[in-house]
């Protein structure tokens, strides 16, 4: 029983960063921008937050102000991923550069950015281990909901996470509702399906693309921050975030572009990601289990394209840039 609860907790904890990445990427893709820079942007989001809290922790000798300890990393993280989003948007939307190439470059750059500053900070503290620990900041991020310790398994499974986990779930629901029910959402979908149509209908395509892409990046960046501050308790080590960004992109396809489905799906992926830790099966099996999320995504791709329902297809102009006077 204890093992299973720990596994569920681990799965959800692992799932939340994926959920952030997935929500952000869906928002971006719905507007027609295939942002393969998400893995890098999540690194930048994490690193920016780490830098913020590092500076704050080192400037305060005594007790940290709870509000600032939380607000500074979050704002820094949002700022970092916003800048990444703006760079990506400027290249692909304004200059109409190839989205795949730009995205991959952003990922390479983002991972490098994280590791470069990570390495620099590690040098600054001159630690024996090759990581930075921000446990004082992290303690605010890992604060669980009240009563989580007193309600037995219910508390453990549902209430034992830091606030960013709940923010991630709420964000996914909000994005789902906005995309589905609101006029803004309708316009974003129209832009992603057929920018010429949207344009002819008087929708500002550039504005909506920038809005969705940049906001998507900012949401994804928070996923990186959650991972560092909450899941691994404020410890940055280079390359520690791993390939979770790619898993988030796979999740977008797995959920067939539905952020609300992403909530359960991300926990499922998170569970698969750590299955081998909780239920060791030997070296070979472990590696095979780690592949399952990608295999499942492939299977979903096959199924959705076989059933050929139009609603389950990617946005029609995904990956294409729009230029009004193109003939």
């Amino acid at each position: 029983m204890v093992g299973i609860i720990a596994f569920i907790q681990g799965a959800i904890g692992q799932g939340i960063p994926l959920l952030y990445g997935c929500t952000g990427e869906i928002l971006s893709e719905k507007s027609g921008n295939l942002n393969l820079g998400i893995p890098g942007i999540m690194y930048v989001g994490a690193m920016s937050g780490v830098i913020g809290s590092f500076v704050y922790e080192n400037s305060v000798a005594g007790e940290l102000n709870p509000f600032l300890a939380v607000a500074i990393p979050i704002l820094c993280s949002l700022l970092g991923s916003m800048i990444m989003g703006l760079i990506y948007g400027f290249l692909t939307i304004t200059l109409r550069a190839n989205q795949n190439v730009t995205g991959l470059a952003m990922t390479t750059f983002g991972v490098g950015f994280g590791n470069f500053f990570g390495g620099s900070l590690i040098k600054l503290v001159d630690a024996q281990v090759s990581s930075i620990s921000l446990s004082r900041t992290s303690s605010f991020f890992t604060k669980t909901l009240p009563f989580s310790g007193k309600l037995g398994w219910f508390g453990d499974v549902f209430l034992s996470y830091g606030f960013l986990a709940y923010v991630g779930i709420i964000l996914a629901i909000v994005v789902a509702v906005v995309l589905k029910k609101s006029r803004v959402g309708l316009h974003i979908r129209a832009v992603g399906e057929s920018p010429t149509t949207a344009d002819a209908a008087g929708i500002n395509v550039t504005k909506y693309k920038y809005f969705s892409t940049v906001l998507g990046c900012m949401i994804a960046g928070l996923g990186g921050l959650y991972y560092i501050m909450d899941y691994i308790k404020g410890v940055w080590s280079n390359d520690g975030f791993g390939d979770r960004g790619w898993l988030a992109i796979a999740l977008v396809i797995f959920t067939i572009w539905r952020p609300a489905v992403g909530i359960i799906a991300s926990f499922f992926f998170g569970g698969l990601y750590i299955l081998y830790i909780h239920f060791p099966m030997g070296m070979v099996m472990n590696e095979i289990v780690k592949m399952i999320p990608y295999v499942v995504t492939l299977v979903v791709l096959i199924i959705t394209s076989m059933r050929n329902k139009r609603e389950n297809q990617p946005p029609a102009s995904l990956g294409l840039n729009y230029f009004r006077e193109e003939r």
Binding site: A198, D199, A200, A201, R310, R324, R327
Partner: protein, 513 residues
């Protein structure tokens, strides 16, 4: 018409695309409560001019006045605000959204689908449309989509409606319905500009005709006081002979024999039922039928692109030896000299690659020829130049990607390529769809030339008048079955028209009009 109020006035409008002059010093006036036809050859700048009115393009110079006030139209939104709406040739609809969602796209305020649907119903009642607001666009027929487009524009309360080749993809019945609606709108005081190539439609629907040639404004005519010959001459700029010659077939020999052909589509619906006929060399066999009653499947089956349930298609050599084409590789069929030029609704969808230039598109047919290591680009380049010259394709050069050409010019390239291949059997479907009258006659001449050279021609056409003029024999299809083969010289439009519908189980479809 004594007191005409100007709704839109365009003055000295000029627009260039790089080296290409699309419009030069064009003056055009649209009056309130009239239907104006905008006529011109393919690539004469009609669509470009209208796109500037609807905010898609921005003019390089010139002024636009709406209701007497000078305006700047920088985006489609500006155009809507001025009461100008355009229905584009290629529909601007989002496939996965419903009709209602498409109609309210781009509007401000809270999303209230219920209120929107009420307003849509009201518009439909006023002008006589039928729209199901909850139907997804991808489930709709072409004519339904067009209706949604028009309702979308009316929903925004436009007074000036631009229709770009609205009838090109409609059946005659659907066209009649559209015209009915247009007359209602006119009676409601709205101005309509319609771009079309079909002169009989111009005569039927419009009050006035404005003519463009090579991007320049040539003049206007009162529809009631003109005739197709005069309009054509103004469009082309010289006297044009509007008749199709039909010579007696010389020494016709059976070339293709189709027997008992049955085709079933992917959903299991029978498309071609027990069709048998023979195509002769040096003869044009016309195929008449309401669109979608098996023409496409029949042609594709002969070209080896469509699996058949049963039946045979025999290719007969001059010496009488026969070869079965069913089950043969499409490439082998092509090598036998069977050419198919099918012009689908989406011209670029089949036959041409939009991102490749004219020469490379020619190479699609020839790249397998020869045994050299590298492909031969010289010959295709010559063919390309030949087609551009004879068919007067308007293009900045042979290196221009095909997708940048205007619709009609794309088609000339496609048809030109198939003919240039010196085929033994030529099948063309809707070869002149969307082409202006002059280009159409060029194509007819080319087809006749093929006939003279002994090619067996299968000509699927939409315009019965043309079919009757060009065909030696006419195969009439009705719902996938042959309702008869008639002599093109002795039959008349009524007979063929009746045969096209004679197998129809019920006449409901036509009663609605």
């Amino acid at each position: 018409m004594e007191k005409r109020i100007e709704a839109v006035k365009m003055q000295k409008i000029t627009k260039n695309f790089g080296q290409v002059v699309a419009n030069k010093d064009v003056n055009l006036t649209v009056y309130k409560g009239e239907i104006l036809s905008l006529l011109g050859e393919n690539g004469s700048g009609k669509t470009t001019l209208m796109n500037m009115l609807s905010g898609i393009y921005f003019p390089d110079s010139g002024e636009i006045f709406v209701n007497g006030r000078e305006v700047t139209i920088g985006s489609p939104k500006d155009a809507f605000d001025l009461g100008i709406g355009m229905v584009h040739q290629h529909f601007k609809l989002v496939d996965v959204l419903t009709a209602a969602e498409n109609i309210i796209l781009g509007q401000k305020g809270k999303l209230d689908l219920r209120a929107a649907k009420e307003k849509i119903a009201e518009i439909c009642n006023r002008y006589g449309f039928v729209v199901d607001p909850d139907k997804k666009i991808y489930n709709m027929s072409v004519s339904e989509k067009q209706t949604v487009e028009i309702v979308k524009v009316l929903y925004r309360g436009v007074d000036i409606l631009i229709l770009d080749e609205p009838t090109a993809v409609l059946t005659p019945q659907e066209t009649e319905k559209l015209f009915h609606v247009m007359r209602n709108m006119k009676a409601d005081g709205k101005s309509i500009v319609i771009i079309t190539h079909k002169l009989n439609e111009v005569q039927e629907i419009s009050d006035r005709v404005a003519i463009l040639r090579s991007g320049e404004y040539i003049g206007e005519l009162i529809t009631a006081k003109t005739n197709p010959q005069e309009m054509t001459n103004m469009m082309v700029g010289r006297q044009v002979v509007l008749n199709i010659e039909r010579e007696e077939p010389v020494n016709p020999k059976p070339r293709i024999r189709v027997e008992g052909l049955n085709i079933v589509d992917i959903e299991g619906i029978s498309k071609v039922k027990d069709v048998s006929f023979t195509m002769n060399s040096g003869e044009i066999l016309g195929v008449a039928g309401i669109s979608g009653c098996g023409q496409k499947e029949l042609l594709e089956a002969i070209a080896g692109l469509q699996p058949v349930v049963s039946g045979s298609v025999k290719y007969i050599e001059d010496d009488g030896t026969e070869a079965e084409l069913i089950g043969m590789d499409p490439r082998k069929i092509q090598e036998k000299g069977v050419a198919l030029s099918f012009v689908p609704e989406d011209r670029l969808g089949m036959g041409l690659v939009g991102n490749m230039d004219i020469t490379d598109n020619m190479m699609l047919r020839t790249f397998r020829e020869g045994k050299k290591l590298f492909t031969d680009k010289r010959k295709p380049a010559e063919t390309a130049k030949d087609i551009v010259d004879t068919l007067k394709v308007k293009t900045p050069g042979l290196e221009t990607p095909v997708r940048k050409l205007s619709g009609g010019n794309v088609q000339k390239v496609l048809v030109g390529r198939e003919i240039s291949n010196a085929p033994k059997v030529l099948m063309t479907a809707y070869a002149v769809r969307g082409l202006d009258i002059n280009s159409s006659y060029l194509i007819y001449d080319l087809i006749n030339e093929q006939k003279r050279e002994g090619v067996a021609v299968l000509f699927v056409g939409e315009d019965l008048d043309v079919l009757l003029q060009i065909s030696d024999r006419i195969l009439v299809l009705c719902d996938g079955e042959v309702s008869g083969i008639v002599d093109g010289r002795t039959t008349d439009k009524n007979t063929v028209g009746l045969m096209m519908t004679s197998l129809q189980k019920s006449d409901q479809v036509y009663e609605k009009i």
